[in-house]
């Protein structure tokens, strides 16, 4: 008995020795069904995840129960699907039937049931990927495109309509990361356009049933697109280059004509323009400078011209002798005469009236710039109170006075009138070259000797008429004694009051002094020669001023002529056509020989 108890104790010890080792045996962990899938809706496989085994060898078994049946069935196939799987073949698979599946883990300690899972095979279909995916390059009007074709997985029976598959493909270039996906519906062919020339493409296809899961992507089909030339693109490139070229030309043209365009589009606003006004000067210089430039050269008249216009006094020459003595006069010339601005007059009181120059038109004065105007007899300077009176005006007044018998005086505004030459019409009125206006001796104090003057004029004209057959030279037969008259004052506009000045030879007159040498023109020789009367100082008239006596003219004429002519020709600056000069000389009667290098006699 005691032996049996000992054996029992031994046995129990043996039994419990594994526990005494320290390992705790427990029930197996709860397994979990991960998923069940059917590739063709005819069979399906379920996989589970085993839990802890609890230290003991654990067996797993799968049990299922069909809908509306209480019969529990065990998994028919544990191997086909791999480890921890259960494969249901066709015979065991019912569609549209609810399966209740449970996995049981069993070990020595006990068994553990997993959570049941209800599945309906219809909704767990995940087909295999499509097969035989092929890609071909096809040409459509010289443009290539890819034609992808595939086959449904061979297990899926689409032919009988049991399964309807929807396909999808994706494509990418070799080396890219992003795929381009295209749904393809139920068709098994797909075209891809817009390929890059010479690129390599990879294509994959997958499918799914109308109510199920997507399959895995098929193996990539690789294809290389051949090089092709996109004609349309090249045409556009050409058009682009052409238009760019035209654009460049346009821009260049616009740039070249930018100024004209600017003026065309935005015409410049005319600004005020004042002649002689300098903006820069206004900005920089003083106002005086600006306005001085504004003033210009014409206004106000310069002093030189101004002085020319001035007539200080009028000389009236009353000849006492028959012979006329060429008077010296201060003849204000134009340019050459401008140096003689002195107011003194050698010729005072002598024969200024007979000067033709006084009556010549002013226009001719401009032509004969630089010429010497000659005056017969003498020219008196007239001192006009009003210098603004134009020479023309004076001239006219003079002529006017001559016409009027009551005009008392002969006024010879010497300046501009000197270069004035009488129009031909006036010549006969004035008679010969120079005119002398001389008062009668009887009335030396008379200021207004109208009749006297008139008579003188008449006599003068008679004399002139009488002297017509005289040689070409100008000479007056009868010369009366000269008396000097001084302008006392100017009355009105056209009258000058004169008073005689004593004409003693001793006295001379301060006005008699002449700095210039004057020669009287005798005549015109041919076309380019002037006959001058050599000046010789007479007893009376010879003062500082020398003037020729016409009686002495003969022997010297020729010599003078040539020289003068030559001299005339030597000064082209002053000399205009010779004929004109000579005519004017003839009209004037006096030539200032100081200009020309005349040999002195």
């Amino acid at each position: 008995m005691k032996k049996a108890e000992g054996v029992i104790i031994l046995w129990s010890l043996l039994l419990f020795t594994p526990h005494a080792k320290g390992t705790s045996y427990s029930l197996p962990g709860k397994p979990t069904l991960t998923n069940c899938r059917s590739p063709e809706k005819e069979t399906f496989t379920c996989w589970w995840e085993p839990g802890s085994d609890g230290g003991l060898p654990t067996t797993y078994r799968l049990f299922y129960r069909k809908e509306n049946s209480d019969t529990v069935h065990e998994c028919p196939d544990y191997r086909t699907g791999g480890k921890n799987s259960c494969f249901f073949n066709k015979n065991d698979t019912s569609i549209w039937v609810n399966y209740n599946i449970t996995v049981v883990a069993t070990n020595a300690r006990g068994r553990t049931f997993s959570d049941p899972v209800d599945i309906d095979v219809v909704y767990i279909v995940k087909p295999n990927p499509p097969e035989k995916v092929t890609v071909n390059t096809t040409w459509d009007k010289s443009l290539p495109y890819l034609r992808v074709s595939w086959e449904p997985p061979h297990k899926a029976d689409t032919r009988s309509g049991w399964i309807t598959l929807i396909y999808e493909l994706r494509i990418k270039m070799e080396g890219d990361d992003e795929w381009e996906e295209h749904p393809a519906g139920q068709q098994r062919v797909f075209n891809i356009y817009s390929l890059r020339s010479g690129g390599t493409y990879l294509v994959q296809v997958r499918c799914r049933p109308d109510h199920g899961f997507w399959s895995e992507w098929s193996d990539s089909a690789c294809i290389e697109v051949p090089d092709y030339f996109h004609q349309e693109k090249s045409m556009w490139i050409l058009i682009l280059i052409f238009s760019v070229f035209i654009l460049i030309i346009l821009i260049w043209v616009i740039h070249m004509n930018s100024h004209t365009l600017k003026r065309f589009i935005l015409p410049p606003v005319p600004g005020p323009k004042i002649k002689g006004f300098d903006k820069q000067l206004l900005k920089n210089g003083k106002s005086r400078d600006v306005f001085s430039s504004l003033v210009g050269s014409d206004f106000p008249p310069t002093t030189t011209n101004y002085e020319d216009l001035l007539v200080e006094y009028l000389e009236v020459y009353v000849p006492e002798e028959q012979e006329l003595m060429p008077e010296e006069s201060k003849v204000p010339h134009k340019s050459s005469y401008q140096s003689e601005t002195s107011t003194s007059d050698c010729d005072s009181g002598r024969g200024s009236c007979d000067s033709h120059t006084l009556l010549v038109d002013k226009s001719e004065e401009d032509k004969t710039m630089g010429q010497q105007s000659t005056q017969q007899g003498g020219q008196t300077e007239r001192d006009l109170k009003r210098p603004e009176e134009s020479s023309e005006e004076k001239y006219l007044t003079y002529s006017h006075q001559l016409d009027q018998p009551d005009s008392p005086d002969c006024l010879f505004p010497p300046g501009p009138l000197s270069s004035h030459f009488s129009p031909p019409g006036h010549k006969p009125v004035l008679g010969s070259n120079y005119q002398e206006f001389s008062f009668g001796n009887t009335q030396p104090h008379a200021l207004h000797h109208q009749t006297g003057t008139h008579q003188y004029l008449q006599d003068y004209s008679d004399i002139n008429n009488a002297n017509k057959e005289a040689p070409a030279g100008f000479r007056l037969a009868s010369v009366r004694s000269t008396e000097y008259v001084e302008v006392q004052r100017v009355k009105n506009d056209n009258m000058v009051l004169l008073h005689p000045v004593s004409s003693d030879p001793e006295q001379g007159g301060p006005e008699r002094r002449h700095t210039e040498d004057y020669s009287k023109v005798k005549g015109v020789n041919n076309d380019n020669g002037l006959l001058l009367l050599q000046r010789k100082g007479s007893d009376k008239e010879m003062d500082i001023c020398s003037y020729e006596d016409q009686q002495m003219s003969e022997p010297v004429d020729s010599g003078y002529t040539a020289s003068i002519a030559a001299a005339l020709q030597k000064t082209p600056a002053y000399v205009h056509p010779a004929t004109q000069i000579l005519d004017e000389r003839a009209a004037g009667g006096y030539v200032d020989t100081s200009i020309f290098p005349l040999p002195t006699y």
């Binding site: 809908e67 509306n68 569609i95 049991w162 309807t164 109510h211």
Partner: protein, 228 residues
Amino acid sequence: MTAHIRPVCAVWVGMVVLCSKLSCMKAASICSNAQAGCHFLSLANLFDRVIQHSARMHGISNDLHSEFELYFLPSKNQVGRVTRNCHTSNILTPNGKENAQRIAREELTEVILKLLLAWRGPLWHLHQSVAQNHDFNRFSSNKSLEMRDMVHELHKGVQKVVEKMQTLGIISTSVGSLASPEAFLTSESSEWRFMKDYDLLYCFRRDSNKIQNYLKILKCRIVPEHGC
């Protein structure tokens, strides 16, 4: 009450039959001679249309079922779930491909028609129930309504296909019971009334799938050249 219902139902059935016959005859007379202006639909086209219709119906039922699961979340611990019995389970339907291919065309056609017929009433009630239930939003009730109408349309469409097949001589004229009283009566069985809406929806989802699949099989068996 049943005594009154029976003659009324008979009259109503007769009227329905008469009307449908008339309409069918009308349709037959219009295009019987294949006149110009009459679109002659081939059997394949008809099948395609019907199949599309059934696919859409199934899609809607699937959506509605998902919505139901959100709202109701039937506990998975329910054991009684497995014992759920759809009222159409008495209709013998092939449960596999071989079975479906083995079955005769006429049987298959009849099965389809039976199924469609069996669901007309329940869906009408389901819609009522969903519309009245404030837990559901408007989209759910719209879907239930659409489902109800689609069953009707699909039934008519399948009937047209059957007629076409019969005229073509593909199937025998034995399949002609457009609305057999037995079928009507089976649908009248009150089993489904005791079912919950969720279970009804579950059953309908499955049955619509069956209908779609059977139609596809039928098409590929009869007109295989078009997309099978």
